[in-house]
């Protein structure tokens, strides 16, 4: 009887199975909801939703079905792409104070803004940044993101100011969908692919060797003699290099999740993590803060971590051209006489297996991202999603070199 509700929940991205749906009906049959809508709400939520992160989706579905409220502001994927500009946040920072002073004076009527927003969604056909009419970043219209207008509708991107009336299409919860990025379990499952079992490790013999025991016992005239063996252990060694530059700040949560997942996956023989700022030069930092002095020589790493280490580089590959090609392009630390590009080449030469994970990789061929394109030439690059990570792990485990 609530079939509509079922499909609305599905449409909002809740993965409800028929089994759970039938359970809800069973519960209703038993009269567990009484005759109250509130009780029904909690009953349905407790049976259908299995994570607090999905509560919001459920609320939306519930409201739509039982209050008839509908939102028609569909934001197209193309438009979200134009607005995907985390780097604008840095620029914005400088302007922030100036704008904040003006906030009090601005008053906007919500209905009016939404009306205009729908109209403009229809009309707009290209990307706009910094303008004062179209939907784009860094602008002064009421629409788009990272803008200075404080009473408008935010479209995608990450929150700069908090006061946008409605976060239309912010898609806060997309991380939990199919192309989800933030799910620690998914990360861990992907990292499990990095396995290479070996018994040649130096560990105590803790497992009962049944065949050995039978042999020995037989040779011993039936008198029991127990034989133990070494457990099979993963022999994979991992070197994780993470970009901790300014443009990576919007992704710090994501990197944190990945880092946690790697650390929790305690089945590796060894895991080493170092950080770099924008590009790899002669020093690698020990902490994400990238403080001068708190580093090791990149060549020391090459010497001490042999070529069997599998290397995962995480970074947005958004260096300025001089950061990549100039021999004095490192504006934070020493260059070591080589350009960033040459250091990357050295890295490639030293390690057999390297992948690059990029949290904001452009889909397909993106020649306007010069550094990204150049690095793709050297390393196989994958987007930092669960799917991308899976592909990357497969690449790391396959035997043929690129």
């Amino acid at each position: 009887m609530f079939a509509d509700f079922f499909y609305t929940c599905k449409a909002k991205g809740l993965s409800i199975t028929l089994g759970e749906w039938l359970t809800l009906h069973e519960a209703l049959d038993k009269g567990l909801a009484g005759s109250s809508l509130t009780q029904f709400y909690y009953l349905a939520r407790t049976i259908l939703v299995k994570s607090e992160t999905d509560f919001d989706k459920f609320d939306m579905a519930f409201e739509e079905c039982f209050r008839g409220v509908q939102s028609e502001n569909e934001v197209t994927a193309q438009m979200l792409k134009w607005l995907d500009k985390p780097e604008m946040a840095e620029l914005l920072h400088q302007e922030e104070k100036r704008w904040l002073n003006q906030i009090e004076e601005i008053k906007v009527d919500k209905e009016d803004v939404e009306e205009k927003f729908k109209q403009r969604l229809k009309d707009q056909d290209s990307e706009h940044n910094g303008g004062s009419y179209w939907i784009g970043t860094m602008g002064k219209t009421s629409f788009g993101n990272t803008g200075g207008n404080v009473g408008g509708v935010r479209v995608g991107g990450t929150t700069g100011y908090q006061s946008a009336f409605a976060v239309i299409g912010a898609r806060k919860y997309r991380d939990f969908r199919d192309d989800r990025m933030l799910d620690n379990r998914q990360f861990q499952m992907a990292l499990r692919r990095l396995r290479h079992f070996s018994t040649k490790l130096d560990v105590p013999k803790t497992e009962l060797d049944i065949n050995g025991t039978i042999d020995k016992t037989c040779n011993n005239g039936g008198c029991l003699q127990i034989v133990m063996e070494k457990p099979r252990k993963n022999a994979v060694k991992l070197l994780l290099l993470m970009d901790s530059g300014g443009t990576m700040i919007p992704f710090s949560n994501l990197l944190n999740e990945l880092f946690q997942a790697v650390n929790k996956s305690n089945h590796y023989k060894d895991v080493k993590t170092y950080y770099f700022h924008n590009c790899i030069y002669s020093k690698l930092y020990k902490t994400p803060e990238c403080e001068n002095g708190d580093w090791v020589d990149t060549e020391w790493v090459f010497r001490n971590l042999d070529s069997d280490y599998k290397v995962i580089v995480v970074g947005d590959a958004a260096m300025a051209p001089e950061e990549l090609y100039s021999e004095s392009g490192n504006y934070r630390g020493p260059n070591g006489g080589l350009s960033g590009m040459q250091w990357l080449q050295l890295l490639k030469r030293h390690y057999k297996k390297i992948v690059w994970l990029n949290p904001k990789m452009a889909p397909g061929h993106a020649p306007w991202r010069e550094a990204e394109t150049a690095i793709k030439e050297i390393f196989p690059m994958y987007k930092l999603t669960v799917e991308g990570l899976n592909q990357a792990m497969t690449t790391l485990m396959t035997n043929k070199s690129r």
Partner: protein, 272 residues
Amino acid sequence: MNQAAFGSTKEYVASKQLLASVNVAVALEKPLLIKGEPGTGKTMLAQAVANSLGKKLLIWNIKSTTKAQDGLYMYDTIKRLYDGQFGEEGVEDISRYIKLGKLGEAFESPEQVVLLIDEIDKADLEFPNDLLWELDQMEFYIHETKRTVKAKKRPIVIITSNAEKELPDAFLRRCIFHYIDFPDRDLMEEIVRVHYPDVEANLLKEAMDIFYEIRSLRDIRKKPSTSELIDWVNALQIGGIPAEQIKKAIPFIGVIVKKDEDLETVRNKVVY
């Protein structure tokens, strides 16, 4: 099937939704999965449910090395082998070497019990998946003795998780889920009063002011939890700290703030 419903007990204060979830889980005979911030009383819930319904409580504590098999049964092969060597009596009876785990115990119990599977997320990623059949059908098979252990009375299963690891979907589908929200001030006051009925009103108010303020600080790394507040109130009482001193000095701050960085933050930001 008209069972006594679970209600708040003298020792445990539960929100309405939580009571409803427990009763739904009992009525539908499905495991109840409880998530929530540390220190919101997930583990205590099972005890309260057991007390309230007058049932026995079995606790299966999960550790990182726990295997699903541990909860069902263990077959002590090596002991049997050695016994065989020395010609002990009854070696041919395998069942002497089979020991039931907590889940097996719960199944074999002649009356209904409450089974708490505590901190299921501590175990290996695949652990919950290995229990799907057993929790669904409430039975398992002992290969060595060709015996099926089937629940005489379906136990009430309560599972807690700290969200350290995400649980597999197949497992989640079979559970009733409840997320314990962090208690608001009113509920919190009730909870503290359950533990210390005659705490001075002023002292409690001041302590809660500080407590919620610390929790609201953005850069706090480890937010203080309910159980820590309870401990703190106790410490303040025992120390005989007058209410008006609390905000000035924040005595015994170590009870609620456990990290150096957080101590620093609190000192800088919580000023009266």
